[in-house]
Subunit: 210 residues, 2 copies
Amino acid sequence: MPRPRTPLLSRERIVAAALALVDAEGLAALSTRRLATELSVSGPSLYNHFATKDDLLDAVVDSVMGEVDLGMFDAPEDWRAALAAWARSYRAALAAHPNVVPVLAQGPGRRPNALRLADAVFGCLVDAGWPRGQATRIGALMRYFITGSALGSFAAGFPEDAGVYAADYPHLADAHRLAEHRRAVDEGAFETGLEALLDGLALRYARLPD
Amino acid sequence: MPRPRTPLLSRERIVAAALALVDAEGLAALSTRRLATELSVSGPSLYNHFATKDDLLDAVVDSVMGEVDLGMFDAPEDWRAALAAWARSYRAALAAHPNVVPVLAQGPGRRPNALRLADAVFGCLVDAGWPRGQATRIGALMRYFITGSALGSFAAGFPEDAGVYAADYPHLADAHRLAEHRRAVDEGAFETGLEALLDGLALRYARLPD
DNA sequence: ACCTGAACACCGTTCAAGT
DNA sequence: ACCTGAACACCGTTCAAGT
């Protein structure tokens, strides 16, 4: 059935299926052949819509970045509130798709939504009076913290098997129970870190010469 | 030449070669067959020393974690200074091997050096008087920030091609020059973030009931 | 115990062929 | 323009065979 009158595929359909696959089974499960099967199509068909698998992955990543709200930068009350709101929106978008974070954390590359995000954050900080050099560093360090917090659950990274800890790691005696509170631990750590970070930055802002 | 009298391989030799390969060409370049060739051995030979490729990768990751200094936790003067020294040592170890960070950021799993590290940090905070719940969150948020900062250079993530930014991303007009200052930007962002984070945490520590 | 070659079920990608 | 099957050079892993 070559060349159907109405195309079987579209970039949107491919990206959606790829994201679903990565969400459900991880980055390693995304193969062009597997994805094609999922779309009821033969492997090479995808190459009519994307030049390479990396190209496709770029589109998947940028579709996740597109979910980040940037509205708070349109008419920011103050930089701290805008940054906090943006950080929470950013983290929520990434936490919904943790398996793509390693790719997206490599930097914006040429992905439009990633560049738009970087532009908005930097612009807000400079408009608020931060020197350009400092604004760059703050954009970077916020990204460090947010991507790091979405890269994988802290709590889920510890084995539930209590036997792992006994004797060798005395302070981790209760670590096997982290899984129960997985969500609360991760969310609490993010909120604590975000507020601490903003407090620390506010101290520096107050010291800025004007 | 099967079964030489002195073994051709050892776990150490394999891990060292794998790390060198990942450092030089990235995670994607690490294949069992390629690694075997590098070691002048046939592909399946590796399976005498590691059960699977994932097993081998675990050993590679833990060898990097082993480079992190934990000595500052032996007799810590104060939690803040110890945490700062540890964070810098941790980041330096990861920044030397950025390509393995996505793997290691998934959590400690059953890797001994990763568990030892988590144990030392948590123990230091609890000994300093932090409540256990807070100590857990601080351990998590520090890891978020440190792994995020080592996951990929912020500066290097922006294309050097100035044409990418023109018109569409007005605030990023100078982003193409980030590459020149790559190291300074990344280091400056890490230091600013670390100090801000610790300042913010110190504020909370001062408010702790005793 | 530790290495080998052969084999299996997979990959990403190219390309000529179809309509 | 958009899909197909065949083909190429790769994967991770198993296994029987060697010493």
